[in-house]
Symmetry: D2
Subunit: 337 residues, 4 copies
């Protein structure tokens, strides 16, 4: 079967945009990169390496390009919803980095336009496509651990981001835990009814002054009685810690962190292995490739998008409830929102 070739344009060549460009140009079959938009010379030089026909600093050149089927939005967060709305109105399929926007209202408006435009929108919750978590999901679906009881998700960053980033991030639950909220919904395959959260500023007083927390623990209650615990920290002395455990009636699934090497050093003090990977770029390399491949394949086969704008909205509602729970010092029912 000859699949149709998907012609894409990329808006934004920051860290993630470059990864998408390289994957689309050299590793994913059945796709052609028609154009990239980036305001900086550095990004444009990068695009040159891959023979991209159109290199521009105007998003409209991409959005309204007649030969482009799909737009990849990886510009700064505050421009996401604008580009998505324009691309939707232009009838393009859209792949957008999360979040669509930090405002719930804006997200709802954007999704409304996407819906009425009847275009495909995939939201980049890349962790779903991480080989570790994806394998857990597949085994859960296959029933190997039976009925789910409890899930434990840990996400700890090696170092806090700059305070400037913190200030425009929407806060820990919106910026970081959002991935874990989505992962929880993805694994449990049901909806959250109640959120209980604790959040503290324990790591760096500057984060507190910026109005954010750096340490969060959230307990989610699902409609089907599954309980999900999430632990987040903005700083982790031993590297980037991304794990989860799923406990069910017939067994347990858990992921461990990849390490720099699988070497062991044994001396009089004990057994020593290497540190965890240090950056989400290294940790999630495969997930960026997988999500883009899945986006392209879904378009080629006219399949519904595997991760939708609704998924983004629902994770945001949980984040909203978590913020409220910390503030009110009580558990929050999602019905209250």
């Amino acid at each position: 079967m000859l699949l149709k070739k998907i012609r894409v344009g990329i808006i934004g060549l920051g860290r993630i945009g470059k990864i998408h460009l390289e994957n689309l140009s050299t590793k994913i079959e059945g796709v052609e990169v028609i154009g990239v938009m980036n305001p900086s010379k550095e990004g444009q030089l990068f695009a040159n390496r891959f023979n991209v026909p159109l290199i521009t600093d105007q998003a409209n050149d991409i959005i309204h390009h007649p030969n482009i089927d799909a737009v990849i939005v990886c510009s700064p967060t505050n421009s996401h919803s604008d580009y998505v709305i324009k691309a939707a109105l232009a009838g393009k399929a859209i792949f957008c980095e999360k979040p669509l926007d930090l405002s719930l209202t804006k997200v709802k408006e954007t999704l409304e336009v996407v819906k009425t435009s009847r275009v495909s929108l995939m939201l980049a919750f890349n962790q779903r496509l991480d080989p570790h978590f994806h394998e857990v999901k597949q085994k859960v679906e296959a029933g190997v651990i039976g009925r789910l009881y409890t899930i434990h998700i840990i996400s700890r960053d090696p170092e806090p981001p700059p305070i400037s980033y913190i200030k425009s991030s929407g806060g820990l639950f919106y910026d970081m835990t959002i991935h874990d909220f989505d992962m929880a919904r993805y694994l449990v395959n049901a909806e959250v009814t109640e959120v209980f959260a604790k959040g503290y500023n324990l790591i760096d007083p500057k984060i507190g002054k910026a109005g954010d927390i750096d340490t969060g623990v959230v307990m989610l209650t699902f409609e089907n009685k599954v309980t999900v615990i999430i632990e987040n920290s903005r700083k982790c002395a031993y590297g980037y810690d991304q794990r989860l455990e799923v406990f069910g009636s017939d067994g347990m699934l858990k992921t461990e962190n990849p390490q720099k090497t699988m070497n062991y050093y044994l001396n009089a003090q004990g057994v020593h292995t290497s540190r965890y990977l240090n950056s989400f770029i290294d940790r999630y390399t495969a997930s960026y490739f997988n999500e883009m491949k899945l986006f392209i394949e879904s378009l080629q086969n006219d399949l519904p998008m595997p991760i939708t704008g609704e998924d983004g909205l629902k994770a945001m509602l949980i984040a909203e409830a978590a913020n409220l729970s910390v503030e009110k010092q009580r558990s929050i029912s999602l019905n209250e929102l």
Copy 2:
């Protein structure tokens, strides 16, 4: 230095009583087993192997024996407080299996007698003396992971106990989680202020009919902003699961479960290792020895008891709050009790 020999009597030769007898008779220095009380012939025959001078079916023979310095109470739970009170009034040092009683009032009364009698009482939260958890505690105390942020404790039994046991157990939080509540206080070295808990009957409807839950998740907030998560289950398909993780500013400490062997079998499907141990007796063998050794050494050196009746009382108050939290569907401040 020649330490004084501690002369002990044991009340109750069930599973734990036998372990204490063997440890005291053959493995712990500076102690002499003067007498054991057990109603059954089988227990008395067991005692014969170790040359115990006095074997009786009357607890009073032990409690009032002039040559006995310390009484080990490992009879059924509902007799603990009576024996402890009698032994306290008789001026004996006491080692008592947990819990002192299932009634908070009775526990308080018993502790009052112990206090006014000025005798030593050690409560058998044996898990504190498990080599794995004890090493974690020592490292936490030594500051190797810096300031504590969050702790995660998992305790899952291979199989639920008989329904008859469930009925007289005081419920999951009083019977099983109580160990984890104590472990949390032990590791954090501070007091709990707030308890949020969820409890479900997911495993066996008979447990629900008996008025109990079989799955519990508890989130403890400590006065020093440490958050502790506890996951409990009455049934675990993959064996006896007893783990904890302590996360702090400078690193992380975690325990893994001992396995039957350290053998690996590699075939076309992957890498396979053995099942976890199946019983708390195997898992905690060393802890029973260690707690008894520590009790004897504390007596020999006139040291305060390392685990006290107060510790038992405080763990019970947390269990009480957890029950209330499940019932009221909200978080409970310990001040409310």
Copy 3:
């Protein structure tokens, strides 16, 4: 079925003798310890704890005791063959610590007497009964890894023994590698045809002056084309290292060393776990119990001994060939001996 009670006497209450006494007195069913022989007061006091009726300093009191069915020989090596011969002539079943003797001639003579006396003799190659190695053997027998190709055995002691011990040990291959030679025969279930060995004095010049090596590597060729590599060292900075790997057509089996705890400590430098166990007593605790239990059960059920004097002799012949190989700097065919 009511099994006959086996009545045993123990000759020698050193480190291993005490372990056997405790296991026989308190842990193994269907056996009665009638007497122990030990020249020292300390050993005799130890025996008192277990209510042994006869405590003597004369081996003959044990060997010729009319109510003793089986004699456990755990006296110093140079007395083994004498006691075994006497016990055999007295018609007793015998459990003897390895080796029967350091002289091949003496071993052959002793086995001749055992044979003509038609008594049972079990030789204490305890490592066969170690739960780790035993499970490997069972899986090999069950065929889970198919046809055997190669085996790799590592045995490294934490520290060299005293020079006085070295001098009377028979040398590295006779004293230490002997266990590995037996393990190789046990796992391969065939006989060795050729031995190639290298031996060096790398660790302590005193060992070289005593005429011994401290580092040995041996390559055994079996009649069925299985190759076994053995690595031995008298000193291992990271603890007691006892591992093996068996590679076959359908997979691989390997054992890892038990560690002090299963705790992990993660910091900026990496992941750290505890040191291996430090002593063969800790490492092989279960094997001492298992071998004695098996001896008793074999007697109760009139089964042939699971480890025989022939096994000891064959391991010694391999050791002899290894010594010759180092000396002649060539491979040695067992036919040459």
Copy 4:
């Protein structure tokens, strides 16, 4: 400091050639790919993706190109020495896949031309640059395990190559073990004096009929008394097995195989993790990048080549001795060759 740009040409775009092209075009700084030679259209189309100016089917176009500084030879083995000789005579720096040739005489002749031409030649023993093995080497050099005693290297392929490949491979020791011989020399940093080897045809009779073995065990004795054991197999049921262990006076270093994921599945039978990687391409991805980067950097900084033709020659001499050892059934001194 501005480093000079190295201009390279690639001869051969098979599996490895493509990897080198991609790494040189998109991942390594300070290099420009001027031309590639490949006879097939498919290879030429691949080169198109990376904007290579010259795409040809004539090796001479690369070798004699005036703007090319360095030639990467990754054509079939039987053409290596010809291209290397021509490139040397043309004054180019050379990176050549191993082996230079299967004939010792031809290799010596080629190295002679390289020497008299005074060009740089790096031989692609890529495993030296594998992050796992490289870290071991660095730690050995740093002295963390003290004086080396013994090394154990395991290399097992998931499946045998086609018989056609076997026939032109030079045999197991020349084709597969050659990497391990080089690794042994690299780690020990000394020369081999004696080789003892066993080789069998156990896996597939067709391999035997083609005149080769499929199972090899080699014991190398080094001038400094280090012993190295190598285990090779052409078939490994559990995946691609590439490990080594280095034991020294102060500790041990070992590598484990990377697995498909770090996921654990626990059920009633035990703990299960994923299979090892299946292909050397996946296992050694990083090594191909690292070796090429090192080649380019060595040229930029006028440094001697890290892996030389002499290294290739010495590994071949060991392979020769191993073949002889199997044939003569005795150990071979390298002086005999």
